[in-house]
């Protein structure tokens, strides 16, 4: 067992686990995007950054790939960490504003503006589909191609792959495929509907379960009713 400190809390974790595993085991929330329990950690999105070390030697590392070490001092919610995460989410929104997963993250971290030029890409290069295809579907039909700004995920020679069984695993796991609540052509780059929401429908009607999650629809609906 390894003993380390997360947010001032002394914790004990099994050998071979990462900081993320340790934090999640003790109920400390670290946001992730490119992490999935069934797939190998990849460290692409960097949203899971945490601060380790003390004083001047403190540095940001991705918790999903950093192994838990004895005596490690981890801060998961320091100012530096939250600021870094906010910039990362801003960049993700600028890259793919049509993704619900990205918009939800932006709302959860209270990102209220995007300072970067918004490009409507349909891929954030998180590599989830590539790992899904290789590790869970045992196909290896898709992968990263080219490099730098031309990097993209595709099949060999952009043609239908011989090894692809069209299982749909890549689309199932893709965080960019799920469109945001207002659809792909929303007027604003940032949704932020969830920021304004108190779970009103739950307050008003005791027996209702909100199957939509926190989409903001019920809030607007309630406002309309009140106006009438």
């Amino acid at each position: 067992m390894i003993e380390l400190t997360i947010d001032g809390l002394p914790v004990l974790v099994e050998e071979g686990s990462t900081i993320l595993d340790a934090a999640r085991f003790y109920g400390i929330d670290i946001p992730t995007l490119c992490h999935n329990d069934g797939l190998t950690p990849y460290g692409a999105c960097r949203l899971c950054v945490v601060e380790i070390g003390k004083g001047e030697n403190a540095k940001l590392v991705s918790s999903c790939t950093y192994p838990a070490e004895p005596g490690l001092v981890v801060r998961t919610n320091s100012k530096r960490v939250t600021e870094a995460r906010k910039v990362l989410v801003e960049l993700l929104v600028a890259m793919c504003p049509s993704s619900k997963t990205v918009q939800d993250l932006a709302s959860a971290m209270e990102v209220k503006k995007v300072r970067f030029k918004v490009e409507h890409n349909d891929c954030i290069l998180c590599g989830l589909c590539v790992r899904m295809c290789e590790e869970q579907m045992m196909a290896k039909a898709i992968g990263f191609v080219n490099r730098g700004k031309d990097r993209k995920i595709t099949t060999p020679f952009d043609m239908k792959s011989d090894v692809c069984r069209t299982c749909g695993g890549c689309m199932y796991i893709c965080p960019a495929c799920e469109l945001r609540c207002q659809g792909p052509d929303a007027e604003t780059d940032l949704c932020n509907a969830c920021l304004n929401v108190q779970p009103v429908c739950l307050k008003e009607e005791d027996n209702k379960m909100c199957f939509l999650g926190t989409c903001g629809w019920c809030y607007e609906e309630l406002g309309r009713k009140k106006k009438k």
Binding site: K140, G143, V145, R147, P156, S161
Partner: protein, 166 residues
């Protein structure tokens, strides 16, 4: 089944030749880069069929071979001409008139960057910096450095190389 990877254009490499290269590297998966390099040095470019053949023989997924071949700039998946012209676009070459030289080559050969002349003699490529800034503007043809280039020199040098071909 993978057919004999003969290819379009005037470049082709036989399976027997690829087998020879593969045998030399003992069919090692780790030797993929040197294998592709050797195939490219024989064939000047890597046809789709060749990559498929190599991936099947080495038992490496095709996507891995493809992403490696597209990652490195030295591998070409498009047919290349007999002479590869590399014009430097680095800062030093730029201020000394590199873009003018590049434009002159394009005008003379009537092709754009990363294109090959229809007679498969020349391929024009650009490079960020060759590290020989004192020689700028720099043009490399088939590994030979032509320093202090200017638009007037371009025609004579190109003529020299197209004559060599005959």
């Amino acid at each position: 089944m993978i057919q004999n990877p003969t290819s379009r254009g005037n470049c082709f490499i036989e399976t027997a030749e690829i087998d020879k290269i593969l045998e030399k590297h003992e069919y090692k998966k780790s030797a993929l880069i040197p294998i592709l390099q050797e195939i490219q040095s024989k064939n000047r470019w890597l046809p789709c069929e060749t990559l498929k053949y190599v991936s099947e023989k080495l038992d490496i997924p095709l996507i891995d071979v493809y992403s490696l071949a597209t990652f490195y700039k030295s591998f070409s998946l498009k047919p290349r001409g007999k002479h590869v012209i590399t014009a430097c676009c680095g800062t030093a070459c730029h201020v000394r008139g590199g873009p003018k030289v590049l434009q002159e080559i394009q005008n003379q050969l009537n092709i754009g960057v990363d294109e090959t002349t229809p007679d498969k003699k020349f391929t024009l490529e650009t490079v960020r910096c060759l590290g020989a800034c004192a020689l700028g503007p720099l043009v490399v043809i088939d590994g030979k450095y032509h320093g202090q280039m200017n638009t007037k020199k371009v025609a004579s040098i190109l003529k020299k190389y197209s004559k060599k071909n005959k």
